[in-house]
Symmetry: C2
Subunit: 328 residues, 2 copies
Amino acid sequence: MSTATVSRALSNPELLTEATREVVFAAIRSTGYRVNKAARNLRTRQAGAVLVLVPNLGNPFFSQILAGMSECFGDSDTSVLIADTKDQAQSGKLFVDYFLDSQVDGMICLDGGLSGHELRQFSDNGLSDRIIFACEWVHDTCLPSVRSDNARGARLAVQHLFDLGHRKIAHVTGPQENVLTHARREGMLAERARLELPVKDDWIIRGDFSLESGRQAAERIIAMEHRPTAVFCASDQVAFGLMSTLSANGLRVPEDISVVGFDDIELSEYYVPALTTIRQDRRALGRKAATLLMECIDPEPVALAERTAPVVVDVELVVRQSAAPPAG
Amino acid sequence: MSTATVSRALSNPELLTEATREVVFAAIRSTGYRVNKAARNLRTRQAGAVLVLVPNLGNPFFSQILAGMSECFGDSDTSVLIADTKDQAQSGKLFVDYFLDSQVDGMICLDGGLSGHELRQFSDNGLSDRIIFACEWVHDTCLPSVRSDNARGARLAVQHLFDLGHRKIAHVTGPQENVLTHARREGMLAERARLELPVKDDWIIRGDFSLESGRQAAERIIAMEHRPTAVFCASDQVAFGLMSTLSANGLRVPEDISVVGFDDIELSEYYVPALTTIRQDRRALGRKAATLLMECIDPEPVALAERTAPVVVDVELVVRQSAAPPAG
DNA sequence: TATATACATGTAATCGATTACATTTATCAT
DNA sequence: ATGATAAATGTAATCGATTACATGTATATA
């Protein structure tokens, strides 16, 4: 019984006689033998792991996406390394190092804010075809990506507020250079224009998806001479920060101001008031990204169709209590 | 210039002449050489990675703990594998397999609910000294752990409510078999006894740390003949679920019922009303657990002091708006 | 039955580092 | 200056799998 036979029993069982295969497996069971992944990885030049880059692990928005990914990778014994892009500078380790050190075979990036410099590090090393973007993406590149229909989400939000009777609708955006910010803002503006709603510059308030930026937006709104009657927020977290500060200042949601969020994280249903928001199918986003990546890093890639077009996942309006007809 | 010299330049630079070291590093820089981790791992029988077991990645409570860990491991180029204990059954991969397949050197477990069966798999393979528990731990074992001072947190919460004038204090617990549930419940009961507060059986409400269990607790409370004037919740999430449902039923927090949580997750400050809660220093928990684990898996372990006593991290009362003097 | 062909298994090289041991070179004391 | 000792470097085995190639065995064909 040679080592080669054992190896084949594990990776290409169909090459062996039923009989020998049985013998091998019996021996494996009785000895408790386990393949050494390090040795296999060395020989096959694979890492059996993928890297997931998260902009902020602290944001509950990402959890379900990760769950969707684990679900897929779990099936193919690929392990998942998770890194927070915030920590990069501090740790001194570049993300491309994970590849160069043969620690991962591919990467899913949830952060569209990677610098051109970093992206070049990947392309310079011929790694661009082992990267999938999910949720966010990089503007003006054609790296494969999975994303929600952000523009449609924004339109749904505005439409809903319009249907409730709102005309003066504000928007708290995401961070300035973010692709989601852009997609949602443009969707919102387009719908507002289509419905011929009034426009005021200071009804577009710059935020950054965070609770704190919601608070700041609320302060801006409270100080306004002509307040909007409704606010569409670029994320649920922003909506929470906003509502919290509005309440603290005696403005009631939805009686005085209606609020709509974006994401539908678990907590949205349990906020006071329960948040009307746009649901992203986060688990599906994670699953699709994982599936795409597995195809990329498959040693014998199935003829990849032109994968330049992003995979788009549909969104959905979830009506709860934070948006109601305007007073008066 | 032999491969041995190069290898030494990387792992034991002090063995080389200043001159040769320079030559080696110069060559490394000019050729862009990188060590192959798989080869190193194979030879040194180390994985250069650790596994972190999280009970529920979706719970924002864990994020900062993970951040604290990454901070430590990032410095020592150990990579961090994160797995959700919920997914285990589904993926079919046992956690002990990560060790047996030489994929990780150690493990931090945030889930005290591991079955005796699973724990035995670790001890049977002599792996018990490569495991650190954090936040949660396993009752009746002396595996090293890092935890918050849960009993003290519970006492602080009850004391605070007492100081505000509350006498009828209820508690929503965590899941039945959870060690945190026990520690917090006992702390709460002890303090209630010390202050000679009234006791009613149905003021101890079974929960499971989740938003949904908070909602259910609220329904129970609303239906009570003798309602408590304050509720101490075993987690912030429970508090949110509770407050959301109280509000939906016309009970105001804190005017009608005061609420205190446990954890102080980021959102607590932005809830309506802002949640009075017990802060756990989650980042510190993560850092300490990581530090402990690194000592365990160090190839030349520093004489480990008796590490049976758990490392305890202090907690702190954060006063916000959800608890106020009772009406009347 | 002999020969060609397919199939199963064995042999040994290989992946890229680490490290025990051997060898060379430098340092020191006498 | 010489031998003893220490320090630096080189040689080659090793970690545990995979796999090209060689060999052996069964099946089919003439």
